[in-house]
Amino acid sequence: MLEILKQSTNTEICKPLLEAVIDKAREFQNLFGRNPAFMEVCGSHTMALAQTGVKQGLKDYVNLISGPGCPVCVTDQKSIDAMIALAEGENRIICTFGDMIRVPGSLKSLKDAKIAGKDIRVLYSPVDSVRIAEENPDKEVIFLGIGFETTIPVLTLMVSEAEKRGIKNFSIWMTTKLIEPVMRYLLESDEVNLDGFLLPGHVSIVLGENSYQYLVDEYQISGVISGFKTADLLSGIYKLIDMKVKGQIAIENNYPAVVSKAGNPVTQSWISKYLEPCDEAWRGIGIIPNSGLDLKPEYDQFNAKKRFPVKVGEPRKTKCRCGEVIRGVVTPKECPLFAKACQPMNPVGPCMVSAEGTCAAYYKYMRESF
Protein backbone atom coordinates (compact mmCIF):
# COMPACT_ATOMS: atom_id res chain seq x y z
CA MET A 1 0.00 0.00 0.00
CA LEU A 2 2.94 2.27 0.52
CA GLU A 3 3.23 2.08 -3.25
CA ILE A 4 0.15 4.27 -3.48
CA LEU A 5 1.80 6.78 -1.17
CA LYS A 6 4.76 6.87 -3.52
CA GLN A 7 2.81 6.92 -6.77
CA SER A 8 -0.17 9.02 -5.97
CA THR A 9 1.41 12.13 -4.64
CA ASN A 10 4.24 14.46 -5.21
CA THR A 11 7.04 12.33 -3.82
CA GLU A 12 9.26 15.37 -3.49
CA ILE A 13 6.86 16.61 -0.87
CA CYS A 14 5.38 13.47 0.63
CA LYS A 15 8.34 11.14 1.08
CA PRO A 16 10.29 13.73 3.11
CA LEU A 17 7.08 14.56 4.98
CA LEU A 18 6.59 10.91 5.94
CA GLU A 19 10.19 10.76 7.13
CA ALA A 20 9.76 14.02 9.03
CA VAL A 21 6.68 12.64 10.81
CA ILE A 22 8.60 9.48 11.73
CA ASP A 23 11.54 11.54 13.06
CA LYS A 24 9.16 13.72 15.07
CA ALA A 25 7.42 10.61 16.42
CA ARG A 26 10.82 9.24 17.53
CA GLU A 27 11.40 12.52 19.37
CA PHE A 28 8.02 12.04 21.06
CA GLN A 29 8.95 8.44 21.94
CA ASN A 30 12.20 9.62 23.55
CA LEU A 31 10.33 12.16 25.64
CA PHE A 32 7.27 10.15 26.66
CA GLY A 33 8.43 6.53 26.32
CA ARG A 34 5.51 5.59 24.04
CA ASN A 35 4.10 6.32 20.61
CA PRO A 36 1.78 9.33 20.17
CA ALA A 37 -1.93 8.55 19.75
CA PHE A 38 -4.33 10.67 17.73
CA MET A 39 -7.94 10.22 16.71
CA GLU A 40 -9.29 11.19 13.31
CA VAL A 41 -12.85 12.39 13.79
CA CYS A 42 -14.02 12.03 10.21
CA GLY A 43 -14.94 8.91 8.29
CA SER A 44 -13.47 10.29 5.10
CA HIS A 45 -10.16 10.86 6.93
CA THR A 46 -10.28 7.22 8.07
CA MET A 47 -10.65 6.13 4.47
CA ALA A 48 -8.07 8.63 3.15
CA LEU A 49 -5.45 7.59 5.75
CA ALA A 50 -5.87 3.97 4.67
CA GLN A 51 -6.18 4.63 0.95
CA THR A 52 -3.06 6.79 0.76
CA GLY A 53 -0.99 4.40 2.87
CA VAL A 54 -0.31 7.01 5.56
CA LYS A 55 -1.72 4.85 8.35
CA GLN A 56 0.26 1.83 7.24
CA GLY A 57 3.44 3.87 6.76
CA LEU A 58 3.23 5.23 10.30
CA LYS A 59 1.95 2.15 12.12
CA ASP A 60 5.17 1.55 14.08
CA TYR A 61 5.47 5.19 15.10
CA VAL A 62 2.04 6.80 15.47
CA ASN A 63 -1.18 5.24 16.77
CA LEU A 64 -3.95 6.59 14.54
CA ILE A 65 -7.32 5.74 16.07
CA SER A 66 -10.52 6.02 14.06
CA GLY A 67 -13.34 7.87 15.76
CA PRO A 68 -17.10 8.39 15.45
CA GLY A 69 -17.12 10.26 12.15
CA CYS A 70 -19.04 7.98 9.82
CA PRO A 71 -22.72 8.99 9.87
CA VAL A 72 -24.10 5.59 8.93
CA CYS A 73 -21.86 3.86 11.47
CA VAL A 74 -22.85 6.01 14.44
CA THR A 75 -26.59 5.64 13.81
CA ASP A 76 -27.85 3.30 16.50
CA GLN A 77 -29.40 -0.01 15.58
CA LYS A 78 -32.88 0.90 16.79
CA SER A 79 -32.89 3.94 14.46
CA ILE A 80 -31.73 1.71 11.59
CA ASP A 81 -34.55 -0.74 12.36
CA ALA A 82 -37.04 2.14 12.53
CA MET A 83 -35.97 3.47 9.11
CA ILE A 84 -36.33 0.00 7.59
CA ALA A 85 -39.75 -0.39 9.23
CA LEU A 86 -40.71 3.00 7.79
CA ALA A 87 -40.11 1.61 4.30
CA GLU A 88 -42.65 -1.14 4.96
CA GLY A 89 -45.53 1.36 4.92
CA GLU A 90 -47.77 1.48 1.87
CA ASN A 91 -47.66 4.18 -0.77
CA ARG A 92 -44.25 5.52 0.21
CA ILE A 93 -41.07 6.39 -1.61
CA ILE A 94 -38.03 6.23 0.65
CA CYS A 95 -35.04 8.31 -0.48
CA THR A 96 -31.63 7.75 1.05
CA PHE A 97 -27.88 8.14 0.73
CA GLY A 98 -26.27 5.08 -0.83
CA ASP A 99 -24.57 3.64 2.25
CA MET A 100 -27.79 3.28 4.21
CA ILE A 101 -29.38 0.83 1.82
CA ARG A 102 -27.07 -2.07 2.71
CA VAL A 103 -26.88 -1.56 6.47
CA PRO A 104 -28.32 -4.69 8.07
CA GLY A 105 -31.32 -4.19 10.30
CA SER A 106 -32.33 -6.69 12.95
CA LEU A 107 -34.61 -8.42 10.47
CA LYS A 108 -33.67 -7.12 7.02
CA SER A 109 -31.99 -4.22 5.20
CA LEU A 110 -33.46 -1.49 3.02
CA LYS A 111 -31.98 -3.39 0.10
CA ASP A 112 -34.05 -6.45 1.06
CA ALA A 113 -37.12 -4.22 1.24
CA LYS A 114 -36.31 -2.85 -2.22
CA ILE A 115 -35.90 -6.35 -3.64
CA ALA A 116 -39.28 -7.20 -2.10
CA GLY A 117 -40.81 -4.39 -4.16
CA LYS A 118 -40.66 -1.31 -1.95
CA ASP A 119 -39.84 1.96 -3.70
CA ILE A 120 -36.46 2.91 -2.25
CA ARG A 121 -34.26 5.34 -4.14
CA VAL A 122 -30.60 6.18 -3.64
CA LEU A 123 -29.79 9.85 -4.19
CA TYR A 124 -26.51 11.73 -4.31
CA SER A 125 -28.21 15.08 -4.04
CA PRO A 126 -30.90 14.91 -1.33
CA VAL A 127 -32.70 17.95 -2.77
CA ASP A 128 -33.80 15.66 -5.62
CA SER A 129 -36.22 14.02 -3.18
CA VAL A 130 -38.32 17.22 -3.21
CA ARG A 131 -38.63 16.92 -6.99
CA ILE A 132 -39.57 13.25 -6.61
CA ALA A 133 -42.33 14.31 -4.18
CA GLU A 134 -43.59 16.89 -6.69
CA GLU A 135 -43.67 14.26 -9.45
CA ASN A 136 -45.49 11.73 -7.23
CA PRO A 137 -48.27 13.68 -5.50
CA ASP A 138 -50.17 10.49 -4.61
CA LYS A 139 -47.23 9.08 -2.60
CA GLU A 140 -45.43 10.11 0.57
CA VAL A 141 -41.76 10.78 -0.10
CA ILE A 142 -39.54 10.40 2.96
CA PHE A 143 -35.83 11.22 3.02
CA LEU A 144 -33.67 9.42 5.59
CA GLY A 145 -31.81 12.37 7.09
CA ILE A 146 -28.57 11.07 8.52
CA GLY A 147 -25.38 13.12 8.66
CA PHE A 148 -23.14 15.54 10.51
CA GLU A 149 -22.83 19.31 10.25
CA THR A 150 -21.81 19.26 6.58
CA THR A 151 -24.99 17.46 5.53
CA ILE A 152 -27.40 19.12 7.95
CA PRO A 153 -27.68 22.46 6.06
CA VAL A 154 -28.61 20.52 2.92
CA LEU A 155 -31.55 18.98 4.82
CA THR A 156 -32.81 22.44 5.76
CA LEU A 157 -32.60 23.47 2.12
CA MET A 158 -34.91 20.59 1.26
CA VAL A 159 -37.49 21.77 3.78
CA SER A 160 -37.26 25.27 2.36
CA GLU A 161 -37.76 23.98 -1.18
CA ALA A 162 -40.76 21.85 -0.20
CA GLU A 163 -42.27 24.77 1.70
CA LYS A 164 -41.70 27.19 -1.18
CA ARG A 165 -43.27 24.84 -3.72
CA GLY A 166 -46.19 23.97 -1.41
CA ILE A 167 -45.33 20.27 -1.40
CA LYS A 168 -47.26 18.43 1.30
CA ASN A 169 -46.15 14.85 0.60
CA PHE A 170 -42.51 15.35 1.55
CA SER A 171 -40.83 14.80 4.90
CA ILE A 172 -37.47 13.97 6.46
CA TRP A 173 -36.73 11.27 9.05
CA MET A 174 -34.21 13.30 11.02
CA THR A 175 -31.46 11.43 12.81
CA THR A 176 -28.59 13.88 12.48
CA LYS A 177 -25.47 14.00 14.64
CA LEU A 178 -23.23 16.78 15.95
CA ILE A 179 -19.49 16.39 16.34
CA GLU A 180 -18.87 18.45 19.50
CA PRO A 181 -21.10 16.46 21.90
CA VAL A 182 -19.56 13.14 20.87
CA MET A 183 -16.01 14.50 21.17
CA ARG A 184 -16.85 15.73 24.65
CA TYR A 185 -18.32 12.29 25.43
CA LEU A 186 -15.13 10.54 24.28
CA LEU A 187 -12.90 12.86 26.31
CA GLU A 188 -15.04 12.55 29.44
CA SER A 189 -15.43 8.76 29.18
CA ASP A 190 -11.62 8.48 29.28
CA GLU A 191 -11.76 5.13 27.48
CA VAL A 192 -9.05 6.09 24.99
CA ASN A 193 -5.89 8.01 25.78
CA LEU A 194 -5.33 10.62 23.12
CA ASP A 195 -2.65 13.22 22.47
CA GLY A 196 -4.79 15.16 20.02
CA PHE A 197 -7.43 15.13 17.31
CA LEU A 198 -7.16 15.27 13.54
CA LEU A 199 -10.24 17.43 13.11
CA PRO A 200 -12.73 16.99 10.27
CA GLY A 201 -12.18 19.04 7.12
CA HIS A 202 -15.68 19.51 5.80
CA VAL A 203 -17.61 19.64 9.07
CA SER A 204 -15.22 22.50 9.83
CA ILE A 205 -16.36 24.35 6.69
CA VAL A 206 -19.67 24.85 8.48
CA LEU A 207 -18.39 25.19 12.06
CA GLY A 208 -15.13 27.08 11.51
CA GLU A 209 -11.78 26.87 13.27
CA ASN A 210 -12.90 28.85 16.33
CA SER A 211 -15.59 26.31 17.21
CA TYR A 212 -12.98 23.87 18.57
CA GLN A 213 -11.52 26.20 21.20
CA TYR A 214 -13.34 24.21 23.93
CA LEU A 215 -10.84 21.39 23.34
CA VAL A 216 -8.03 23.65 24.48
CA ASP A 217 -9.88 25.58 27.19
CA GLU A 218 -11.80 22.72 28.81
CA TYR A 219 -9.87 19.56 27.96
CA GLN A 220 -6.31 20.83 27.37
CA ILE A 221 -6.00 18.84 24.15
CA SER A 222 -4.87 19.96 20.69
CA GLY A 223 -6.54 19.58 17.34
CA VAL A 224 -5.49 20.13 13.74
CA ILE A 225 -8.12 20.68 11.04
CA SER A 226 -7.02 18.66 8.03
CA GLY A 227 -7.79 18.18 4.37
CA PHE A 228 -7.78 14.82 2.64
CA LYS A 229 -4.65 14.76 0.48
CA THR A 230 -1.60 12.80 1.55
CA ALA A 231 0.42 15.95 2.25
CA ASP A 232 -2.52 17.43 4.25
CA LEU A 233 -2.79 14.31 6.41
CA LEU A 234 0.95 13.95 6.99
CA SER A 235 1.51 17.61 7.82
CA GLY A 236 -1.50 17.56 10.17
CA ILE A 237 -0.08 14.58 12.05
CA TYR A 238 3.34 16.24 12.13
CA LYS A 239 1.86 19.39 13.68
CA LEU A 240 0.00 17.36 16.32
CA ILE A 241 3.19 15.56 17.38
CA ASP A 242 5.21 18.77 17.26
CA MET A 243 2.77 20.61 19.54
CA LYS A 244 2.88 17.78 22.06
CA VAL A 245 6.69 17.66 21.98
CA LYS A 246 6.87 21.42 22.53
CA GLY A 247 4.28 21.30 25.30
CA GLN A 248 1.86 23.48 23.31
CA ILE A 249 -1.90 23.06 23.27
CA ALA A 250 -3.75 24.72 20.41
CA ILE A 251 -6.19 24.39 17.54
CA GLU A 252 -4.46 24.71 14.20
CA ASN A 253 -6.13 25.11 10.85
CA ASN A 254 -4.15 23.05 8.36
CA TYR A 255 -6.89 23.45 5.73
CA PRO A 256 -7.15 27.27 5.51
CA ALA A 257 -7.79 27.26 1.76
CA VAL A 258 -11.18 25.69 2.54
CA VAL A 259 -11.98 26.30 6.24
CA SER A 260 -12.34 29.79 7.73
CA LYS A 261 -12.09 30.90 11.35
CA ALA A 262 -15.82 31.44 11.83
CA GLY A 263 -17.15 28.81 9.41
CA ASN A 264 -19.80 29.36 6.77
CA PRO A 265 -22.32 31.86 8.21
CA VAL A 266 -24.89 31.10 5.50
CA THR A 267 -25.10 27.44 6.45
CA GLN A 268 -25.23 28.37 10.14
CA SER A 269 -28.18 30.71 9.56
CA TRP A 270 -30.08 28.00 7.66
CA ILE A 271 -29.51 25.60 10.55
CA SER A 272 -30.70 28.05 13.19
CA LYS A 273 -33.79 28.96 11.17
CA TYR A 274 -35.11 25.43 10.76
CA LEU A 275 -33.57 23.27 13.48
CA GLU A 276 -33.21 22.95 17.22
CA PRO A 277 -31.04 20.68 19.41
CA CYS A 278 -32.36 17.25 20.34
CA ASP A 279 -31.10 14.16 22.14
CA GLU A 280 -29.71 11.53 19.80
CA ALA A 281 -28.86 7.86 20.32
CA TRP A 282 -25.40 6.78 19.11
CA ARG A 283 -24.33 3.21 18.32
CA GLY A 284 -22.31 1.76 21.16
CA ILE A 285 -22.82 4.85 23.30
CA GLY A 286 -26.52 5.45 23.87
CA ILE A 287 -28.25 8.80 24.13
CA ILE A 288 -26.04 11.89 24.28
CA PRO A 289 -28.08 14.95 25.29
CA ASN A 290 -28.35 17.66 22.62
CA SER A 291 -26.14 15.72 20.24
CA GLY A 292 -28.40 16.08 17.22
CA LEU A 293 -30.68 18.56 15.49
CA ASP A 294 -34.38 18.13 14.75
CA LEU A 295 -36.88 20.28 12.91
CA LYS A 296 -38.47 23.05 14.96
CA PRO A 297 -42.16 22.44 15.79
CA GLU A 298 -43.32 24.95 13.15
CA TYR A 299 -41.95 22.55 10.51
CA ASP A 300 -43.76 19.48 11.87
CA GLN A 301 -45.42 18.89 8.50
CA PHE A 302 -41.95 17.95 7.17
CA ASN A 303 -41.01 15.84 10.20
CA ALA A 304 -41.45 12.17 9.26
CA LYS A 305 -41.02 11.00 12.86
CA LYS A 306 -44.12 12.98 13.82
CA ARG A 307 -46.13 12.13 10.71
CA PHE A 308 -45.30 8.43 10.46
CA PRO A 309 -44.49 7.08 13.93
CA VAL A 310 -42.84 3.68 13.87
CA LYS A 311 -42.51 1.21 16.72
CA VAL A 312 -39.69 -1.30 16.72
CA GLY A 313 -38.56 -3.82 19.33
CA GLU A 314 -35.14 -4.14 20.88
CA PRO A 315 -32.50 -4.79 18.19
CA ARG A 316 -31.18 -8.28 17.57
CA LYS A 317 -27.92 -8.87 19.39
CA THR A 318 -24.88 -9.94 17.38
CA LYS A 319 -21.17 -10.28 18.10
CA CYS A 320 -20.52 -7.16 15.99
CA ARG A 321 -18.20 -4.73 17.79
CA CYS A 322 -18.96 -1.65 15.67
CA GLY A 323 -20.03 0.20 18.83
CA GLU A 324 -16.53 -0.16 20.27
CA VAL A 325 -14.82 0.50 16.93
CA ILE A 326 -16.65 3.84 16.74
CA ARG A 327 -15.38 4.82 20.20
CA GLY A 328 -11.82 3.87 19.25
CA VAL A 329 -11.73 1.23 22.00
CA VAL A 330 -10.98 -1.66 19.64
CA THR A 331 -9.70 -1.99 16.08
CA PRO A 332 -11.73 -3.96 13.55
CA LYS A 333 -9.26 -6.84 13.82
CA GLU A 334 -10.34 -7.36 17.43
CA CYS A 335 -13.89 -8.13 16.29
CA PRO A 336 -14.47 -11.88 15.94
CA LEU A 337 -16.60 -11.31 12.86
CA PHE A 338 -14.10 -9.14 10.93
CA ALA A 339 -13.23 -10.54 7.49
CA LYS A 340 -14.94 -13.80 8.43
CA ALA A 341 -18.70 -13.57 8.96
CA CYS A 342 -18.55 -9.83 8.26
CA GLN A 343 -17.25 -8.78 4.84
CA PRO A 344 -18.18 -5.98 2.42
CA MET A 345 -20.36 -8.31 0.34
CA ASN A 346 -22.09 -9.65 3.43
CA PRO A 347 -21.71 -7.06 6.20
CA VAL A 348 -22.95 -7.57 9.74
CA GLY A 349 -22.28 -4.07 11.03
CA PRO A 350 -22.44 -0.61 9.45
CA CYS A 351 -18.68 0.02 9.77
CA MET A 352 -18.17 -2.67 7.12
CA VAL A 353 -20.88 -1.22 4.86
CA SER A 354 -20.04 2.42 4.66
CA ALA A 355 -17.52 3.98 2.30
CA GLU A 356 -16.34 5.84 5.42
CA GLY A 357 -16.46 2.87 7.80
CA THR A 358 -13.39 1.87 9.77
CA CYS A 359 -13.95 -1.85 9.16
CA ALA A 360 -14.37 -1.25 5.41
CA ALA A 361 -11.10 0.74 5.38
CA TYR A 362 -9.27 -2.04 7.24
CA TYR A 363 -10.77 -4.71 5.00
CA LYS A 364 -9.96 -2.92 1.76
CA TYR A 365 -6.53 -1.53 2.53
CA MET A 366 -5.05 -2.88 5.76
CA ARG A 367 -5.93 -6.55 6.24
CA GLU A 368 -2.31 -7.55 5.79
CA SER A 369 -0.48 -4.63 7.35
CA PHE A 370 -2.13 -4.63 10.79
Binding site: I4, Q7, S44, P126, V127, P153, I205, K229, V259, V266
Partner: protein, 74 residues
Protein backbone atom coordinates in the same frame (compact mmCIF):
# COMPACT_ATOMS: atom_id res chain seq x y z
CA UNK B 1 -18.66 10.83 2.21
CA UNK B 2 -16.62 14.03 2.00
CA UNK B 3 -15.27 14.58 -1.48
CA UNK B 4 -12.08 16.58 -1.22
CA UNK B 5 -11.74 17.23 -4.94
CA UNK B 6 -12.42 20.91 -5.72
CA UNK B 7 -14.93 21.60 -8.50
CA UNK B 8 -14.51 24.51 -10.93
CA UNK B 9 -17.55 26.69 -11.66
CA UNK B 10 -17.95 26.83 -15.43
CA UNK B 11 -21.51 28.16 -15.68
CA UNK B 12 -23.43 30.10 -13.07
CA UNK B 13 -27.19 30.39 -12.65
CA UNK B 14 -29.13 32.15 -9.85
CA UNK B 15 -28.92 29.47 -7.15
CA UNK B 16 -27.00 26.76 -8.99
CA UNK B 17 -23.95 26.25 -11.15
CA UNK B 18 -22.45 23.75 -13.54
CA UNK B 19 -19.11 22.59 -12.19
CA UNK B 20 -16.24 20.55 -13.60
CA UNK B 21 -14.77 17.90 -11.32
CA UNK B 22 -11.74 16.33 -12.99
CA UNK B 23 -13.54 16.28 -16.33
CA UNK B 24 -17.01 15.32 -15.08
CA UNK B 25 -19.70 17.98 -15.23
CA UNK B 26 -22.55 18.28 -12.79
CA UNK B 27 -25.06 20.80 -11.56
CA UNK B 28 -24.71 21.85 -7.92
CA UNK B 29 -26.58 24.26 -5.68
CA UNK B 30 -24.83 27.49 -4.71
CA UNK B 31 -27.21 28.94 -2.13
CA UNK B 32 -24.66 28.41 0.68
CA UNK B 33 -21.93 30.31 -1.21
CA UNK B 34 -23.79 33.38 -2.55
CA UNK B 35 -20.55 35.19 -3.40
CA UNK B 36 -19.36 32.47 -5.80
CA UNK B 37 -18.12 33.66 -9.19
CA UNK B 38 -17.52 32.01 -12.55
CA UNK B 39 -14.10 30.31 -12.47
CA UNK B 40 -14.08 29.84 -8.70
CA UNK B 41 -13.30 26.44 -7.19
CA UNK B 42 -15.75 25.02 -4.66
CA UNK B 43 -16.02 22.04 -2.34
CA UNK B 44 -19.26 20.16 -3.04
CA UNK B 45 -21.14 18.08 -0.49
CA UNK B 46 -24.40 16.26 -1.20
CA UNK B 47 -25.02 18.30 -4.32
CA UNK B 48 -24.35 21.71 -2.74
CA UNK B 49 -21.28 23.94 -2.92
CA UNK B 50 -20.24 24.47 0.69
CA UNK B 51 -17.04 26.50 0.47
CA UNK B 52 -15.05 28.51 -2.04
CA UNK B 53 -11.49 27.24 -2.26
CA UNK B 54 -8.26 29.14 -2.76
CA UNK B 55 -7.37 28.71 -6.44
CA UNK B 56 -3.73 27.69 -6.03
CA UNK B 57 -4.62 25.06 -3.45
CA UNK B 58 -7.50 23.86 -5.65
CA UNK B 59 -5.31 23.37 -8.72
CA UNK B 60 -2.67 21.46 -6.74
CA UNK B 61 -5.39 19.43 -5.13
CA UNK B 62 -7.05 18.43 -8.41
CA UNK B 63 -3.68 17.32 -9.78
CA UNK B 64 -2.96 15.23 -6.70
CA UNK B 65 -6.38 13.56 -6.77
CA UNK B 66 -5.84 12.77 -10.45
CA UNK B 67 -2.60 10.97 -9.55
CA UNK B 68 -4.37 9.06 -6.79
CA UNK B 69 -7.10 7.91 -9.17
CA UNK B 70 -4.51 6.92 -11.79
CA UNK B 71 -2.52 4.99 -9.18
CA UNK B 72 -5.63 3.09 -8.11
CA UNK B 73 -6.53 2.25 -11.69
CA UNK B 74 -3.04 1.11 -12.68
Amino acid sequence: MCVGVPAKVIEKMEYSAIVDVMGSRLTVGTIFVPEVELGDYVIVHAGQAMSIVDETYAKESVEEWRKLVNARNS
